[in-house]
């Protein structure tokens, strides 16, 4: 069909909160730093396997430093969300990216999760579930007040929309 080649999903309208970049950075540091420290300490203490340990440390840093610097900013450009009267639409990921759409009439639950780190940055993760075991939409890094408002709004719309959600 003509023009078919040019179809694509557009970016959802809203960015997540800017503080999410810091949050993702801290999370990345928590992944990378302990590994690097353990390898470093072992390399300092143990003589025999030192070359191997140093090699592993270098590899960790070569992968880890760009990960800590690039991943959060990249994610910030990808992670976006939008809710209309008919549907919730979100994009997530960085290297592997995912677009998810769920219609309001099929929404079963809307809830938020705030881990300790997220509380520190006043962020929330919003999860919208449908009857599908695989259809949940997650929006990371929302301002926690905005997330609370959104839960209220989505629940209200979902209830007002007819349909048995299955």
């Amino acid at each position: 069909m003509p023009g078919e080649q040019s179809l694509r999903l557009r970016a959802p309208k809203n960015l997540v909160d800017r503080r999410a970049v810091t949050w993702w950075t801290v999370r990345a540091l928590l992944d990378v730093v302990p590994v690097a420290v353990v390898l470093g300490v072992l390399a300092a203490v143990l003589e025999e396997p030192r070359p191997w340990l140093v090699a592993a440390l270098v590899a960790t840093l070569v992968v880890g430093i760009p990960y800590v610097l690039i991943m959060p900013r990249w994610r910030y450009r990808v992670h976006r969300w939008e809710s209309t009267d008919e549907a919730v639409y979100a994009r997530s990921g960085w290297l592997w990216q995912e677009w998810r759409v769920a219609p309001m009439s099929r929404i079963q639950t809307v809830d938020t999760v705030r881990g300790p780190l997220q509380q520190l940055f006043r962020l929330s993760t919003l999860t919208v579930t449908t009857a599908s075991a695989k259809g949940a939409i997650k929006i990371d890094g929302l301002d926690h007040e905005l997330a609370a408002d959104l839960v209220a709004r989505l629940t209200a719309i979902a209830q007002a929309t007819p349909g048995d959600a299955t």
């Binding site: 069909m1 008919e86 009857a131 299955t166």
Partner: protein, 507 residues
């Protein structure tokens, strides 16, 4: 309407206790005989003492289980009112569960041979919630057969509006499909002869251990190899295993599908089947989200396929013997029959699974070939590294296995690519996937409750994407892997425009 509180609570059928006792005695014989013979062969204890110990063990075990079951039956009450089915269970921790009638989607009546001897049947009442959640099912274990059948008909008969005027009362419900002995030709070409053959070997091996015959069996095998050479014995053994497996799988197939009948009563689809174990599945049509045409490799070569229901509330189980999958609405049968039955199940003039399916771009094939070669390369690299450092035998293992694995992996990659596809009709989204078994899922548009598009960095570069339609039925999602991103989006957009149009742009 009767006042709900007036309806009496009922108890399970007492004959269930007979089933439990007989079943436990059977288990005790199955375990007791090898144990006894093992102990006697062992010579460690005098024979009378062994018999006494085993007997005492049997009495204690059977007694305990039967006592437990007696208490369970005594403490289980249920009742069926106009609004709901209620079940109280639990010996110490009492549980009370109620399921509203309008939420009941499947009623499954199961009668194993033992149950049939005692005239009882097990009833599963499903609600069509998430298949995984425990609480969504009530099980009555067990009630009398006549009561079970009555209950099923009662629970699945909806009040008025769906009574079809074109189905005159008194006429038998239309039969959509019945078993044909010729369908057994798809059994030998399935995976089951191999699986069951190997399983039979395992059992035989276990039995030789119980009777202390392992050494002599191994000795005889060695003797045979010496006499006939290894290259005769191996194919011979394979043939024997396959023949045993073939007989077993034919037996299982006949047992599972004998008297198979798929019929529609009002708005309920009903599958009845089974020679020794009578199985019956009733599925309310408003739970049906589509069908899946499954063509296992062997059956596909012979032009056959089976139909599986895509429906909410059906347990998604992996069968460990042929014919034990509850999703199956039609066993492997000629494709034309499967297509016709699919059309009738969905009440469509023509089955959506016959619609045109668009294959996926060549880039998807290249990706699969790369994965296949990479997977083999990793295995071979490990073998070669260990072979070079530890033992050179592995080097031979490496080149021999490469000769087998590489063509195998490439075959799987090509098959997998050939089975990729997607398409649509006015009301259905079609997704085709699978490695050896080709699965064509037809998902009704009203059953699509979300769309997910996923792209890896490589897919972005190639213009490919995995497009998933999520649904409340079955495994929860059907994915068109490595589809042309724009084209798949267009197809999905035509099936569920209200969902995707606001978010799709052309540029």
């Amino acid at each position: 309407m009767t006042d709900a509180e007036d309806i009496a609570w009922q108890k399970l059928d007492k004959r269930t206790l007979g089933v439990t006792t007989a079943g436990m005695l059977g288990v005790c014989v199955a375990i007791g005989v090898p144990v006894t013979s093992g102990l006697i062969n062992n010579d460690a204890l005098p024979v009378p003492l062994v018999l006494l110990l085993v007997l005492a063990g049997v009495v204690v075990v059977v007694g305990a289980v039967v006592l437990y079951d007696y208490l369970r039956i005594r403490k289980t009450w249920f009742r069926v009112t106009d609004e709901k089915v209620e079940l109280r269970t639990g010996i110490l921790r009492r549980q009370h569960r109620a399921v509203h009638r309008e939420r009941i989607r499947t009623v499954d009546v199961h009668a194993h041979p033992l149950y049939r001897v005692f005239g009882v049947a097990k009833v599963h009442i499903g609600t069509g919630e998430h298949a995984e959640s425990e609480g969504s099912q009530l099980t009555l274990d067990a009630v009398s057969r006549s009561f079970a059948d009555m209950l099923r008909d009662d629970l699945l008969t909806r009040p008025a509006p769906t009574v079809d005027s074109d189905e005159p009362v008194g006429e038998p419900p239309p039969v959509l499909a019945e078993f044909d002995l010729g369908w057994l030709r798809y059994v030998p070409v399935s995976i089951w002869p191999g699986v069951l053959g190997v399983a039979a070997c395992g059992v035989a091996w276990q039995i030789t251990d119980w009777f202390g015959l392992r050494d002599s069996v191994l000795g005889q095998a060695a003797e045979l190899i010496r006499e006939l050479s290894l290259w005769t014995v191996i194919p011979l053994a394979v043939v024997v295993v396959l023949v045993v497996g073939l007989v077993a799988s034919l037996a299982f197939g006949v047992e599972a599908w004998w008297n198979f009948r798929l019929q529609r009563t009002g708005d309920t689809l009903q599958v009845r089947r089974g020679l020794l174990i009578h199985r019956s599945l009733s599925l309310a049509e408003d739970r049906l989200r589509g069908v899946e045409l499954v063509e296992p490799y062997g059956a596909r070569l012979l032009g056959g396929g089976r139909l599986e229901a895509v429906a909410t509330g059906i347990r998604d189980n992996k069968p460990d013997q042929p014919g034990e999958d509850t999703k199956v609405l039609l066993p492997e049968a000629p494709r034309e029959i499967a297509q016709r039955v699919a059309a009738e199940i969905l009440r469509e003039p023509e089955s959506p699974t016959t619609a045109d399916i668009t294959g996926h771009p060549r880039a998807a094939l290249r990706r699969r070939l790369v994965w296949a070669v990479a997977a083999v390369a990793v295995v071979e690299a490990v073998l070669v590294v260990i072979g070079l450092t530890v033992t050179s035998i592995l080097l031979h293992v490496a080149w021999i296995s490469a000769l087998v694995l590489l063509p195998g992996a490439l075959f799987v990659a090509i098959e997998n690519y050939r089975n990729l596809g997607h398409g649509h009709t006015a009301d259905y989204l079609l997704v085709r996937y699978g490695v050896l078994a080709r699965r064509t899922a037809a998902l009704r548009r009203s059953g699509i409750i979300g769309v997910t598009v996923r792209q890896s960095p490589f897919q972005r570069r190639l213009g490919l994407a995995d497009l998933t339609a999520t649904t409340g039925a079955g495994s929860g999602a059907f994915t068109a892997y490595d589809a042309d991103a724009a084209e798949a989006l267009g197809v999905a957009g035509r099936v569920v425009p209200e969902l995707l149009d606001p978010f799709v742009v052309r540029d």
